[in-house]
């Protein structure tokens, strides 16, 4: 990832002294928490990593489709939700092994995504992005109602395979094996998609098609099929995220909108148009979300002021991060200037 690291270096060198000071302060707070409550700290760090990778899987698809086709796919959260419900159907209702769901469900969600792209989104390419946002918002409503009619409104869950239901000893704390497994799977998937977009010829032609569609087609690339394939990829990775999320936490109807909003926060913080930024921002935001309560409680312990440990601060952290980042760097951490503005 030499491109990514050089970009990271560039971002660091033109960061303002204020943001550098903020970074140093954050590091100091984190090490304070790590020293005073090591078990809780590692627990939350891994929780943040699990959640962050799931967030990245939704955000990556969102960023792909936004960056390539200029369509804000609000229905991406619905694809994530479908991934969870499909895996419930495969594992919980049909009793097939979890490993089958892990392979089949992303493919099925990818097919749903392709149908969505061919029927609704294709006429929207090149139109105002707001129109796409509205149309896919309607699609989310439809997906939620359809899910409610099939699986009901009550939250569902299924059990993970026994091999993964154990816990692993990490010295300071015990961590569920499934969480480590989820991190590994999502990291592999994200890496694969990232390499496919940035390194393969397929990714190259698609990116060329975005720059100059006519010229790319003259050179022999079938762009509509490639765009559809890209959409399949984005939907499938969101579906895979849904499987992992569903296996760990169960599924409910609210996860569609909840995740798509957070995913958009991630894309905005990372910078629209930068996949690398989405990956970094996703992990960053989830870690901030999980570590803030720990940091605050350590601070409260050290200073003796109980009021610092605000309960439920986690929910508000992503939005605070986003507002701060947008005020300091309006185009996000790694965003291209002038994109969608």
């Amino acid at each position: 990832m030499s491109v990514g690291t050089s970009r990271l270096a560039a971002t660091l060198t033109d960061a303002s002294p204020a943001s550098l000071a903020g970074g140093v302060a954050a590091l100091a707070l984190l090490s304070l928490a790590a020293v005073t409550q090591p078990g809780l700290f590692v627990d939350n760090a891994i929780g943040g990593l699990v959640y962050g990778m799931q967030l990245v899987m939704v955000a990556l698809g969102l960023a792909l489709i936004l960056g390539l086709m200029g369509v804000v796919n609000f229905a991406h959260g619905a694809l994530f939700m479908l991934g969870a419900y499909f895996s419930y159907q495969v594992v919980g209702a049909w009793g097939l092994p979890f490993w089958v769901a892990l392979v089949v469900v992303p493919l099925a969600v990818g097919v749903v995504g392709v149908v969505m792209e061919m029927t609704v989104l294709r006429p929207l390419y090149g139109q105002q992005p707001v129109i796409g946002l509205l149309a896919t918002f309607g699609l989310t409503l439809m997906a939620e109602e359809a899910t409610r009619s099939v699986w009901g409104a009550a939250p569902l869950s299924f059990s993970v395979p026994p091999a993964l239901a154990t816990s692993t000893d990490l010295g300071v704390t015990q961590v569920g094996t499934f969480r480590l497994f989820a991190v590994a799977v999502s990291a592999l998937a994200v890496l694969a998609v990232y390499l496919l977009i940035t390194r393969s010829e397929f990714g190259l032609t698609v990116r060329a098609g975005v720059q100059d569609g006519e010229m790319t087609e003259f050179l022999g690339a079938n762009l509509p099929i490639r765009f559809t394939a890209m959409f399949f990829l984005g939907a499938a990775i969101a579906g895979l995220g849904g499987v992992l999320r569903g296996a760990e936490f169960g599924m409910g109807l609210s996860m569609a909108q909840q995740f798509v909003i957070l995913a958009f926060v991630v894309v905005v913080v990372g910078g629209v148009g930068s996949l690398f930024g989405s990956v970094i921002a996703g992990v960053l935001i989830a870690e901030a979300q999980f570590l803030t309560p720990t940091v605050l409680s350590s601070l409260a312990m050290v200073t003796g002021v109980e009021a610092i440990a605000v309960p439920g601060v986690r929910g508000i952290v992503p939005y605070v991060v986003m507002i701060v980042v947008l005020l300091v760097r309006p185009r996000g951490l790694f965003g291209e200037e002038g994109f969608l503005e």
Binding site: P123, L134, A135, G138, Q257, I316, V320, I323, L327
Partner: protein, 395 residues
């Protein structure tokens, strides 16, 4: 007389062809108005068709929805008026300024919780709470507008959504025991001059003049909508429309578009908060669900369904939405062709429970086919065409 000019808000843009495929409004058409038999009277009243329409709406809404052929009960008319005000406030931003806000539930909730918190937690009079909620909404609207109004349309939409979510979390956290968390606020949340008798609200404010709660809501609704209408036909409102149509051009003409957008955002937030105050009075409680992103989403759906480029679009949308919700969920058996002479009888209770699916599908279709017109736009086009055909046949 032509119905193609039934929209007060596009009066000044008479000779402008709108890029979204709207009608070309020309002066010849309005001059033809005077020549019809009803000409002089209609022509004199024509500039005031929006206030007249609003007044007629308020007068006829309750009898229409209470008719046994339609919904059959009266209370929903009050709720409809509240939502019409809320969605119209939202549409000041999207339909007339071109800013898509996905967090408007926040301002709706500020009005609602302003009253509820003042009355049940702080023992303040109703008016203090109501004014406080509206002022808070206006202040937040201004500050938030300053922060995000220039961020590009998608960023704006998602940032309003995110801020709305942040406020939702805060209200859910029950800061200082003020908001009641997920339980909301119930109990002593109604001012003493509202009395509830078997779910019917009555006013003891001016007993000899009006003791019907509906008329209070209707009066506030009329006032706010007339204010909105005045706002839209003023130079200010026309500038907003110019910004929606072509922002770079508006800026090139010397309009400080940022200032206008912030002002529109402030006005829209304050109006939404007024609707929230009315909703609190109507429900007698403040509920967390008001702050939910779904409430903002419903407003978006209703307005687009009705037609966002028209003054009466959001009103139509709310009417259709609430009408569909209560009318459709009422059915358990679909008997065709008539309930008295059924030939085909279908059990539809299982399907109609999921009426939002159909509404979502219609919404997607509307967005794909003609995102600015909606039901009101389609009706207006249809009626205009029919009218012209009928008049052509006469001559």
């Amino acid at each position: 007389m032509t119905a193609s000019d039934a929209d007060g808000s596009v009066d000044a843009a008479r000779t402008v062809e709108r890029p979204d495929g709207g009608t070309v409004e020309s002066d010849e058409e309005t001059e033809a108005v005077v020549e019809t038999p009803l000409g002089p009277l209609v022509a004199r009243l024509w500039p005031y068709r929006v206030p007249i329409g609003l007044f007629a709406l308020v007068v006829f809404l309750r009898p229409v929805v209470a008719h046994p052929w339609f919904l059959g009960f009266e209370q929903i008319a009050t709720t409809m008026l509240v939502w019409m005000l809320f969605v119209a406030a939202w549409n000041l931003l999207f339909g007339f300024t071109g800013l898509l806000s996905f967090g408007h539930a926040m301002f709706f909730g500020f009005g609602m919780y302003g009253v509820a918190i003042a009355m049940s937690r702080l023992d303040l009079p109703f008016l203090v709470g109501a004014v406080g909620g509206v002022v808070l909404a206006a202040v937040v609207g201004t500050l938030l507008g300053r922060l995000i109004v220039e961020k590009g349309e998608i960023y704006f939409a998602m940032l309003t959504l995110a801020v709305g979510q942040a406020v939702y979390f805060m209200v859910n956290r029950d800061p200082y025991g003020l908001t009641g968390g997920s339980n909301g606020l119930t109990g002593t949340t109604l001012p003493p001059w509202i009395e509830t008798f078997r779910g019917e609200k009555t006013l003891t404010l001016l007993p000899e003049f009006a003791n019907d709660f509906y008329y209070l809501v209707a009066a506030v609704f009329l006032l706010c909508m007339l204010a909105l209408w005045q706002l839209l036909r003023s130079p200010f409102g026309q500038t907003l429309i110019a910004i929606r149509e072509n922002e770079p051009l508006a800026r090139a003409m010397g309009v400080d578009t940022t200032r206008y957008k912030i002002a529109a955002f402030t006005a829209s937030s304050a109006l939404a908060a007024v609707a929230g105050v009315l909703l609190e009075l109507n429900d007698g409680a403040a509920s967390l669900a008001t702050f939910d992103v779904l409430t903002s989403g419903d407003a978006v759906l209703m307005a687009i369904l009705g037609g966002v480029n028209y003054f009466f679009g959001p009103i139509t949308g709310v009417f259709v939405w609430f009408g569909a919700e209560d009318y459709l969920t009422d059915f358990t058996l679909l008997q065709l062709p008539l309930a008295e002479y059924p030939l085909v009888t279908l059990d539809v209770s299982g399907i109609l429970q999921f009426w939002r699916f159909g509404l979502g599908a219609i919404f997607v279709l509307v967005v794909l086919l003609s995102p600015k017109d909606g039901v009101y736009g389609l009706l207006r086009t249809g009626i205009t065409r029919a009218y012209h055909r009928a008049r052509g046949a006469d001559e």
